[in-house]
Symmetry: C2
C-alpha cells in the first residue's frame, strides 16, 4: 500500500495556505481556528465512477467536479468556501492520473482560496468523497426553508447543457463536435456559483443548487418551505445548443429534469427583487426569473401561456389542453 | 435511486442534539456555531469493504468502526468529538442492514455526544467515509511532532488482539471459540481512547493512534519529531489470549506489526511522567511504558535485555546475537 502514500505527496503540492489553518495535512487531524463572527457550513458529496461520472472521464475533470459539487452546496447556503477534506479510493495508483486529478482539484481550490486540510487515500473501486466547509456571517445563511408564497423564483446561468452531454455519452443522440465541446465542458467542469451565493445572502429567501434537476430541486424548496410554485417554462434559460439540437419542447423537458448543471435556484421577495437583480447583473451573472411561489403546495407550469402538467420525468400537455 | 433517500430517514433517527448545531441533516449544508475558545480538529477516514474490513463483517460493527476509527484520530489530538458527516456507498439498500449499521454508528455517537450533521448516500461498491470534527482548547492540541529525546513512550490498553482475529479470518490459524470471541470484539468494536486523549492534553508531548501497527505509527512520531526510540519489547501489553495462542516471540511480532487496535501511542517527558500515570490510572485506563526516545533517528529494541533488530515485518534477532 506504499504507493498510496505517494498521493499524499501530490496532496501537499497545493499553493493555498490560509491563516486560519493551524495544522494542515500530515498529523492525525487538521486543526483550524474558527472566526468568532462566523458560523461554519459543512457539506459532503461522494462521486462514484460509473454512477456520478462516466468511467472514462478525464481525471482533471473528476478532480474539478469533486470540489465543484461541494462548493456548489456551500454557495447555495451563501458560505465562503474555506477548507476541504478529500477521501479518494483508487483501484491502483497511476501517477499521471493522480497528477491530473490534483491539477483539476487545486485549480478550483486556488480560485476560491480553499485549502485542502486532509483526507484519506485507499485502495478500492474509484470514488471520491469530499467534505467542504465554509464560513457564513451570523444569521446570514440561506436555507431551503425560508421561501414564502409570493416570492419570485430565479435561476442563475443556463440549464440543460450538462444533461445533453450525458445523452450523447449514453448514445441517445449524436452531437456534432462544436456542440459537444460546449456541453461537455458544462458537464465536466461546472463552475460553482460561489460569488452569486455570497451576494444572495442579502436578498434571497431560499436557495438550492441544481444537482438533481430543476423539478426535483424546486420540490425540495417547496417542501421545506411549505409552498407551491408556478413556473413559466418559456422563461427557462436553455442554452442555444440544446434548443438547436432538441427543439423547444424537448429542450424544456431536459432543462426541467436534467441534473448536473450546478446553477443556483433561489427565491426573492418583491421588496428585494430590484436590488438583487441589480447586484447580480452588475457582477456579470446571468439571471432568469422563471416563476413565482404560491400557497398551493404543488408545482404548476405555463407554456405559451397555457397550463401544462409537470411530472418527475418532465412536463406533459394536459389531454384536453386545459 | 429513491431507496437511497430512505437512508436519510434512518440518519435522522439519532438522539443526539447539540446546541452548537444550528442546522443538521436536510439542507444543502449543515451549519454549526463554533466556540470562541476552541479550535476545531478535523479528520477523514474511509473504510472499503474487503480492504479495511472483511466483506461479511456484521453491519453494526461496520457502523461502529466507521465512527470509532475517526474518533480515534480526534483522541490522538486531544479533541472532544463533536460532529460527524457520513458518506455511505452501498451496492443496494437492504433496510435491515442499514438499520443495524445505524445502530452501531449511533451507539458510539451517543456515548460521546457526537451529532451526525450530514453526509451522502450513493450507489456503488460498499465503502464508508466519515469526516469527524472535535473541539480542542486553544494551544492544547497534541501533535505527532512535539516529542523530544528523553521522553518516555507509552501505549494505552493492549495491542495485538485485533490482528489475531484477522489471522483467524484469513485462515492463517484457527482460534478456539472463547479466544475468538475476545479478539473478534477487539477487531469489530474498538473503543476510541477519547477520554485518555482529553486527559493527555495536559501531559503528552506527542500522540498518535495505533491504526497501522506499533512500528509504523512510532515511526510517524519519530519522523515528525526528528527523534529515535528504544523499545523494551518485554513491556509490550500483549493480551493474554495472544500470548497463549502464539507464544511470546510471535505475539510480540504481532503486537509490533498488527494494526487495527486503535489504542494511543504517546510520549511524556520526565517531569510529567508521574502526573500522567496518576491521572490516567485514576480513570481506569491501562498504561504501559514501553521505552524511551533518544536522538538517534532510528528505532531500536531490547528483548530479555538483549538488542534485537526492528523491521517493518517485526523484529529479528541479530545474526551474531549482538
Amino acid at each position: 500500500m506504499k504507493e498510496f502514500d505517494l498521493i499524499k505527496t501530490y496532496f501537499k503540492e497545493q499553493s493555498v495556505s490560509r491563516k486560519d489553518v493551524l495544522i494542515g495535512i500530515g498529523d492525525d487531524c487538521a486543526l483550524i481556528a474558527p472566526s468568532e463572527k462566523q458560523n461554519i457550513a459543512i457539506t459532503t458529496d461522494t462521486l462514484v465512477a460509473g454512477v456520478h461520472f462516466p468511467e472514462d472521464t478525464p481525471p482533471r475533470a473528476i478532480g474539478h467536479k469533486a470540489i465543484a459539487v461541494n462548493l456548489s452546496d456551500l454557495a447555495a447556503m451563501g458560505a465562503d468556501p474555506s477548507w476541504v477534506s478529500v477521501a479518494i479510493t483508487l483501484p491502483n495508483v497511476d501517477e499521471e492520473w493522480v497528477g491530473e486529478f490534483c491539477t483539476g482539484m487545486f485549480e478550483l481550490c486556488e480560485y476560491y482560496n480553499v485549502q485542502l486540510i486532509g483526507g484519506d487515500t485507499t485502495q478500492g473501486p474509484l470514488s471520491i468523497t469530499v467534505t467542504a466547509q465554509g464560513l457564513v456571517p451570523h444569521n446570514q445563511q440561506i436555507t431551503r426553508s425560508g421561501a414564502k408564497a409570493g416570492d419570485w423564483v430565479y435561476v442563475t446561468g443556463e440549464i440543460g447543457g450538462a444533461a445533453l452531454a450525458l445523452q450523447h455519452y449514453y448514445q441517445k443522440l449524436t452531437l456534432v463536435p462544436e456542440v459537444l465541446r460546449v456541453v461537455q465542458e458544462r458537464l465536466d467542469l461546472p463552475m460553482p456559483r460561489v460569488l452569486a451565493g455570497q451576494a444572495l445572502r442579502q436578498y434571497a429567501s431560499s436557495a438550492i443548487d441544481l444537482s438533481d434537476g430543476l423539478i426535483a430541486d424546486l420540490t425540495h424548496i417547496c417542501e421545506a418551505s411549505s409552498v407551491g410554485a408556478n413556473i413559466i417554462l418559456d422563461k427557462l434559460p436553455v442554452p442555444a445548443e440544446v434548443l438547436q439540437v432538441l427543439g423547444t419542447e424537448q429542450a424544456i423537458d431536459l432543462a426541467l429534469t436534467g441534473g448536473d448543471d450546478y446553477e443556483l435556484l433561489f427565491t426573492v421577495n418583491e421588496d428585494n427583487k430590484v436590488g438583487m437583480e441589480t447586484a447580480l447583473t452588475d457582477m456579470g451573472i446571468k439571471l432568469s426569473c422563471i416563476g413565482q411561489l404560491n400557497g398551493s403546495q404543488k408545482i404548476t407550469a405555463l407554456l405559451n401561456e397555457k397550463p401544462v402538467e409537470i411530472k418527475a420525468e418532465g412536463y406533459q400537455h394536459f389531454v384536453d389542453g386545459v
